[in-house]
């Protein structure tokens, strides 16, 4: 990657420092409240992007894992570590998705947890990825840790369409399907739409920025270790 490209990517990632405050102000002050939900509807500008980013992070970790298993000549550095980082960020975002969803459930349905199919399915996803970190911790020092973890992440990724898209649609759910509903139409005001898109972009960049930091940190740690070994 050229120096210019790297600077451009770095600039995009750092734009989160401007985009996120803009999103917060837009979500609270600029966008009108929804007709039936009132000001509670503002949580959509945080809950939906968090859910999107958590799924994106898990898919990225799965794709990196596939690349790690296929990359026999090790042309790419530490792909297993990068997929681990992506899963870690995804897990944090999933926890936040559950928390924001629970707050919304409390406001809309009267209870923080209702065992709704959508809530239950995201809980399963959460447990699957928590199990991944337990597995990685248990395999510390094992030479096959990266490969076993990659296989696990690929299997975990294949369960995502079932838990996130199929299960809540097969079973009756109270969870609103309002963004793209059965009529395939988006019933949103222009300002709502723009705020949601801005929020989605901001959270996606935040994910990219955090992942980039973790990956760089991991590579620096590795290089420092190499230097120490060389000095010894």
């Amino acid at each position: 990657m050229t120096k210019l490209n790297m600077k451009f990517i770095s600039l995009i990632l750092k734009s989160v420092y401007v985009l996120m405050p803009a999103t917060i102000v837009m979500a609270f002050l600029w966008v009108p409240p929804a007709e039936l939900l009132g000001d509670y509807s503002r949580i959509i500008y945080f809950h939906v992007p968090l859910a999107w980013v958590s799924m994106l992070a898990f898919v990225v970790s799965g794709v990196l894992s596939i690349m790690h298993l296929l990359d026999k000549k090790r042309r790419f550095l530490m792909l297993d570590g990068k997929s681990y980082n992506s899963a870690a960020v995804g897990l944090a975002f999933t926890v936040l998705t559950v928390i924001t969803g629970s707050i919304w459930a409390k406001l809309s349905w009267g209870s923080f947890w209702n065992w709704d199919p959508r809530e239950t399915s995201i809980l399963f996803v959460l447990l699957i990825y928590i199990a991944y970190f337990s597995l990685q911790a248990a395999l510390a020092g094992n030479s096959s840790r990266g490969r076993i973890g990659s296989v696990y992440l690929i299997v975990a990724m294949t369960t995502l369409p079932f838990f996130m898209f199929l299960a809540p649609r097969v079973m009756q759910s109270l969870h609103p399907d309002t963004i793209i509903n059965i009529n395939r139409t988006i019933y949103m005001d222009d300002r709502m739409w723009l705020t949601l898109v801005t929020s989605l972009v901001s959270f996606t960049i935040l994910y990219g920025y955090m992942l980039n930091l973790l990956d760089r940190l991991m590579l620096v740690e590795k290089k420092i270790e190499d230097i120490r070994h060389a000095d010894d």
Partner: protein, 109 residues
């Protein structure tokens, strides 16, 4: 581990912020959203149709506006905390990368 610290700090900060929402929302005027969802399920499409009022308009009750500003203030403060934390990590990693590059070049020459 910085990675774990980073993930959990993010989770904790945003969780604390957003957990303020239900308590702040207690004074906000609201409709019965459960009924709203049921109506939406039966085909009413306008669940996210905006009201005619906005935060800046005078029809909004003063206490509701105060609550809204308060919640936004908390979210902004949490974001500033997270942003400072990320910025500092970014700066430290950049410094480390430069040092490692310098040492490698020194060893090569």
């Amino acid at each position: 581990m910085p990675m774990i610290k980073l993930s959990f700090l993010t989770a904790a900060l945003l969780a604390i912020t957003l957990s303020a929402a239900p308590f702040a929302g207690q004074t906000l005027p609201h409709a019965n959203a459960g009924i709203a969802f049921a109506q939406a399920q039966t085909g009413q499409p306008a669940i996210l149709k905006p009201t005619q009022t906005s935060v800046s308009e005078k029809e909004m009750p003063a206490d509701a506006a105060v609550v809204l500003y308060r919640v936004m203030g908390v979210v902004i403060v949490v974001w500033i905390g997270l942003a400072v934390y990320l910025f500092r990590i970014d700066r430290k990693v950049t410094r480390l990368e430069k040092e490692v590059r310098g040492r490698k070049q020194g060893a090569a020459s």
